[in-house]
């Protein structure tokens, strides 16, 4: 007979392949097994021999007539005391054939009394009895069980029942809600899965005596629309689970990765509109799970309230007109007519939820969903509502749950229609564990976490709300053919416009979305020691605020993607990139004064300088006329100091060089003010060399009135102290030199001759070269000279550049081992780059001669 059952199961699988639908298949399968068991029962000699009463009862899924292809068959063999000694034989005659036919059988053999006692102890058995169904045997035995079950187990234990049910539900949520199950949902135990459906049906039956969805709808517990969606989702999940059992050939309820593609094909999904078939399919699966989760959530909240399990607090508190807090939930205290007069309440109730941290009552959530037609173009374009939305989004206490509720009620996609395009959108890879909509909410939540961890970075932001908006919407361009960053940048511009964001703010939003993958992509792929790459990145981002926002967005985005997208390893690389670009931005070597953002930065600096001058204080140089690159190289305080020196010593300045040395840790910073003269830097360098000071870096700025502000960082050649240095003598020599009273070249030659000898031998092995670079900087020709570190070389190099009538704007002088690397940023006297090839060649040869001088000796 088992052969026959096997053949029938085969036939059933064929019917399934021909398209037998979800629940129908379950019914037929249950029918087959019923017949098989009843036939065996009736043919069993042991049953005929037994003197007492026996009844076979189907439990659980089998009892509900929902027998999936490889599900367990749960049986209760009920008997009275007289039949007890026959039960061993009876059960063998039923169970052996079932086992032989390949079923997993869950069985128990009990009297009615035992069953009731056990049901009191074991909740699983208790609920499985709710689904019990008489198969064959003595009816009165089963009816007796039912009567006593209701009286002894259910009645008077309703609160306990609901509490246990919710506890189990919570345990399932935490166990099957973990990362691995997000990517590969568990159709039975996961959130919105079969267990959630059963938990609702069991509770309806046990607490309210409502058997099935129809009865629930009739009683008003389920809205007709919700029931329809619910049934459609249920049926789809049933079909998926059938298929899962068939293709995995076992009792498997997890929609694991390798089956997803096969399922998608089997259910007729196709690649379309830039999305894989499997992504379309999974999107629907997540949608169905979501429908069931939302309906069952609402149901349990309702039950809670009806039974009075909800904590009572001190009555009602009005938070604002139309919104009240009662029993630790928020509610809209308006009629639907009043709501249509004041649609902004739809948004305000979420703001209150964000402020108070209280959940929104389920009736209010349903009310929001029912009234989404109020979210029209006026609503979406309203500045007032945009302000509320932005406030709730950036609330410190705002929880993920609040945003999720906003998504689930449909308010978020209604308010930002672009969001609807990514609802439940799945990405078929092992990397993205959330659907795109959840991922974006998660990114906002991660940002909240970062707000606590990276307080300083957050506080440095001038408009944190832009970062939040970008986090919420950075992936809205997904699900189309094209690059989602580019498309998303266009889309967020529309969103920003509706929310009344200024041009500048919208630019920033578009920038953040457009480049949200830039840092993570490049942190791993590019050589972070490559200065050119860092410089280009700094130029692309071009703003400290944007850089910091991009950095925070990257961390939040990565963390919200999944456990494989973020590690301390990646964090280190990303931070390295961030710090290097930050350094490059701060150094301002790449400043490009024609950019809008920078002009604003410079204007801001001018204001800062003006603010620091005393009211009515006169200076001899208009703050407005100070050059941008100068302003960006000093703090406003230093600029003010320069201005005051310039004013107080104006007469002296015409003839002399004013020297202001300062001891910085590790080096001395020399500020020198003077009038511009041909070859000034060369003379300064020469005199410094005479005074045994080695130059590390030089910045040279010229004000429109011809005042030169130079800052040279120097270290003493001998290990002498700051106070030992004869600064007065230095200043005197500087003045002699600029007034053509000191033969710097000859002096150097004489004075340094002995030292030159010592250095000479080391220099022999060094590589000497001169590189002229017109690419790296937009405004300057960069000349790099590598040679031996010989005092006086710097004087000769700068003097030579001056001879070619080049202005030196910046210089970096680095010493590596005993090698000297001089980098000069120069322009012609007209302020242009040097692009005359022949001239460049000449300069190069002359410089080479200087640094190669000693070889010739």
């Amino acid at each position: 007979m088992s052969l026959e059952l096997h053949a029938q199961q085969k036939a059933l699988e064929e019917l399934w392949q021909q398209g037998l639908s979800g629940h129908e298949l379950l019914l037929r399968h249950t029918g087959l097994v019923d017949t098989f068991i009843i036939d065996h029962f009736q043919a069993s000699p042991a049953v005929q021999k037994a003197r007492g009463a026996i009844a076979l009862v189907a439990l659980g899924g089998y009892g509900r007539r929902e027998l999936y292809p490889f599900s367990d068959v749960d049986l209760l063999l009920l008997h009275d005391r007289k039949a007890k000694k026959n039960m061993q034989e009876v059960s063998e005659s039923i169970l052996y054939p079932l086992w032989d036919a390949g079923f997993d059988v869950g069985h128990s053999v009990r009297t009615v009394k035992d069953s009731i006692r056990f049901a009191g102890d074991d909740f699983i058995f208790q609920v499985s009895l709710l689904d019990s169904r008489m198969l064959v045997g003595t009816d009165s035995l089963y009816l007796d069980l039912l009567k006593r079950y209701r009286k002894k187990v259910l009645d008077g234990h309703r609160h306990e029942f609901v509490r246990t049910m919710e506890k189990l539900r919570g345990q399932r949520r935490s166990k099957y809600g973990s990362h691995s199950y997000l990517l590969e949902p568990h159709i039975k135990e996961g959130k919105g899965g079969m267990r959630d459906i059963q938990a609702m049906l069991w509770t309806a039956k046990a607490i309210f005596g409502l058997d099935g969805l129809a009865a629930m709808e009739e009683s008003g517990m389920l809205e007709p629309d919700a029931r329809k969606d619910f049934e459609a989702s249920w049926n789809m999940l049933a079909r998926i689970r059938n298929r899962l059992h068939y293709i995995s050939r076992r009792h498997n309820d997890q929609l694991i990765f390798e089956y997803q593609e096969e399922m998608a094909a089997a259910f007729g999904y196709e690649d379309r509109a830039g999305m894989l078939a499997v992504e379309h399919f999974m999107r629907h699966v997540y949608g169905h799970l979501q429908t069931i989760a939302v309906v069952t959530d609402l149901f349990f909240e309702h039950v809670h309230e009806v039974l009075g399990l909800t904590e009572k607090d001190r009555g009602e508190r009005e938070l604002e007109k139309g919104i009240v807090a009662r029993s630790n939930t928020l509610r809209l205290a308006v009629t639907e007519a009043e709501l249509s007069e004041r649609p902004h309440l739809l948004m305000r109730v979420f703001l209150q939820a964000a402020r108070t941290g209280l959940p929104i009552h389920h009736r209010t959530r349903q009310m929001v969903t029912r009234n989404l037609q109020l979210v029209d173009d006026d609503f979406r374009n309203s500045r007032r509502i945009a302000r509320v939305f932005i406030e709730l989004l950036t609330q410190e206490k705002n929880s993920m749950a609040n945003l999720e509720t906003m998504l689930e009620t449909g308010l978020l996609p209604a308010y930002i229609p672009e969001f609807a395009g990514v609802e439940s959108l799945a990405q078929h890879d092992l990397y993205h564990i959330y659907t795109v909509d959840r991922h974006q909410l998660q990114t906002v939540a991660e940002l909240d976490g970062l707000r606590a961890e990276e307080t300083d970075l957050f506080q440095s932001l001038s408009s944190p709300h832009l970062l939040y908006l970008a986090a919420l919407l950075h992936d809205i361009g997904k699900g189309h053919h094209t690059d989602h960053s580019v498309l998303g940048a266009e889309m967020i511009d529309d969103v920003g416009r509706r929310m009344g964001q200024s041009d500048e703010e919208r630019n920033c939003l578009a920038f953040l979305v457009r480049y949200h993958l830039f840092l993570p992509e490049n942190a791993l792929r590019r050589d972070l020691d490559d200065q050119e790459f860092i410089r280009q990145t700094a130029e692309l981002i071009n703003d400290m605020d944007r850089l910091t926002m991009l950095y925070l967005l990257t961390i939040a985005d990565s963390k919200a993607t999944g456990p494989s997208a973020w590690s301390s390893w990646k964090a280190t690389l990303l931070m390295d990139l961030y710090l290097k670009v930050k350094g490059s931005l701060e150094a301002g070597c790449t400043v490009d004064t024609d950019k809008l953002g920078e002009e604003q930065g410079v204007n801001w600096l001018r204001e800062q300088v003006s603010d620091r001058l005393r009211p009515g204080e006169q200076v001899r140089m208009a703050v407005e006329e100070l050059p941008a690159d100068y302003l960006m190289s000093f703090t406003p305080e230093m600029v003010v100091r320069h201005l005051r020196m310039h004013r107080d010593q104006s007469t002296l300045l015409q003839q002399k060089v004013l020297l202001f040395p300062e001891d910085r840790h590790g080096s001395w910073s020399l500020l020198m003010l003077s009038r511009d003269r041909q070859g000034l830097l060369a003379k300064l360098c020469g005199v410094l060399a005479l005074h045994k000071l080695s130059v590390l870096a030089a910045q040279i700025f010229t004000w429109p009135d011809g005042t030169v502000v130079d800052v040279l960082d120097v270290v003493p050649v001998a290990n002498s102290g700051f106070d030992e240095q004869d600064w007065q003598a230095l200043e005197n020599d500087l003045n002699l030199a600029v007034n053509y009273r000191l033969d710097v070249g000859l002096q150097l030659h004489n004075k340094l001759q002995p030292v030159g000898h010592r250095v000479k031998r080391q220099v022999q092995q060094l590589k000497k070269k001169v590189i002229v670079d017109n690419e790296t900087s937009r405004r300057f020709t960069v000349i790099e000279a590598y040679g031996g570190d010989r005092p006086g070389t710097l004087y000769q190099l700068t003097q030579t550049l001056s001879d070619f009538s080049l202005n030196i704007h910046r210089a970096r002088i680095a010493t590596e081992v005993e090698q000297l690397i001089d980098i000069f940023y120069v322009t012609t006297a007209d302020g242009d780059k040097v692009d005359d090839g022949r001239l460049l060649e000449k300069i190069k040869q002359t410089l080479l001669q200087i640094i190669g001088d000693e070889e010739a000796e």
Binding site: R525, D527, L528, W569, G583
Partner: protein
């Protein structure tokens, strides 16, 4: 049979992988690791305070090859991973006693 372990800079992974594919090496194991050698780590100024990055992110590749191929693999990795700066990495060669392919039970050379 030898195991070649190469520690390289993360951004060089694609280059090295492609170069190895080019000489017929198809299989390798990649791990994200942190460590330091002569490069030591470096100090960054972060939020105004000095921040010491002591372990630097690197990629560790493990490749199993027949002994005759070792030199070619080393040469390829060196060529592809080299930037000439400090921190380019290191390569270790270790003997492998036995290999078993789990699915088929094949051993040693067939299982590479």
């Amino acid at each position: 049979m030898k195991k070649i372990e190469a520690i390289i800079k993360p951004f060089k992974l694609d280059d090295v992988k492609n170069a190895l594919n080019g000489i017929g090496i198809k299989g390798m194991t990649i791990t994200e690791v942190k460590g330091y050698g002569r490069q030591k780590g470096h100090t960054e100024i972060y939020r105004g305070a000095e921040y010491v990055v002591d372990f630097l992110p690197k990629i560790k590749m493990e490749i199993i090859v027949d002994a005759v191929q070792v030199d070619q693999v080393i040469e390829t990795v060196v060529e592809a991973a080299r930037t000439g700066k400090i921190g380019d990495g290191k390569i270790f060669v270790l003997p492998v006693e036995q290999i078993v392919r789990v699915r088929t039970g094949e051993t040693d050379r067939e299982a590479i």
